[in-house]
């Protein structure tokens, strides 16, 4: 029962993050919402794995946590500099 409450809360927060991703006036609001959505996805995998009694997909959660962090940093780099190249000088 506790896991079902947690599952409902995580799904509801994913919905709120999606609404912010659509509404957000700046691109950084959308990046923030997608980052939150990625974290909620990791939680969703973990909680629903234990809810159904098959926690075999925790490896996917580990992988997705890593990938979403790298993805957010890549999108931020692109939003700040306009390119993803290695030799962009970071001044400021």
């Amino acid at each position: 029962m506790i896991l079902s409450i947690a599952l409902g809360v995580v799904l509801f927060t994913m919905l709120l993050a999606l609404i912010r991703a659509v509404r957000g006036p700046t691109v950084f609001d959308r990046i923030l919402a997608v980052n939150a959505f990625g974290t909620q996805t990791v939680l969703l995998i973990a909680v629903s794995g234990f809810f159904t009694g098959r926690p075999d997909f925790l490896d996917l959660a580990v992988l997705y946590a890593l990938l979403s962090f790298i993805g957010v940093l890549a999108v931020l780099r692109f939003a700040k500099f306009g390119e993803l190249a290695d030799d962009v000088r970071e001044d400021g």
Binding site: V10, L16, A17, F28, P55, L58, D59, L76, G92
Partner: protein, 112 residues
């Protein structure tokens, strides 16, 4: 699982879910990018860590516990780092804050 361990696990998961819900509501209701980033980075990361710690009590084999703790440590480290990178990029792009200090400091174009 004994009753007290089940109580601790349930309490951790519920409190973590409460933090996650608060971060979602803050993401929707707060007026400004910087306040929203503060809400999401603090509550979301901490709530996720609490939920994962609570789930570690439900795991049956030690690899499950190790994986859950790995995710928790990683989220604890990278959540605030991503938020700091986001706010730094937004500030250098000139995203204005709706809530300023009294003397005008905090706007991207302030001379101080």
């Amino acid at each position: 699982m004994s009753a007290i361990l089940e109580f601790i696990a349930g309490a951790l998961v519920l409190v973590g879910a409460g933090f996650v819900l608060v971060s979602g509501i803050g993401l929707m209701r707060l007026p400004d990018l910087y306040t929203r980033t503060h809400a999401v980075s603090v509550s979301d990361s901490f709530g996720a860590v609490l939920i994962l710690l609570g789930l570690a009590f439900y795991a049956t084999d030690p690899f499950g516990v190790i994986k859950l703790l790995t995710i928790a440590v990683f989220l604890l480290l990278t959540g605030p780092a991503a938020a700091q990178a986001l706010v730094k990029a937004a500030y250098s792009r000139g995203v204005a804050a709706e809530i300023e200090a009294g003397n005008g400091a905090g706007r991207p174009d302030d001379p101080a």
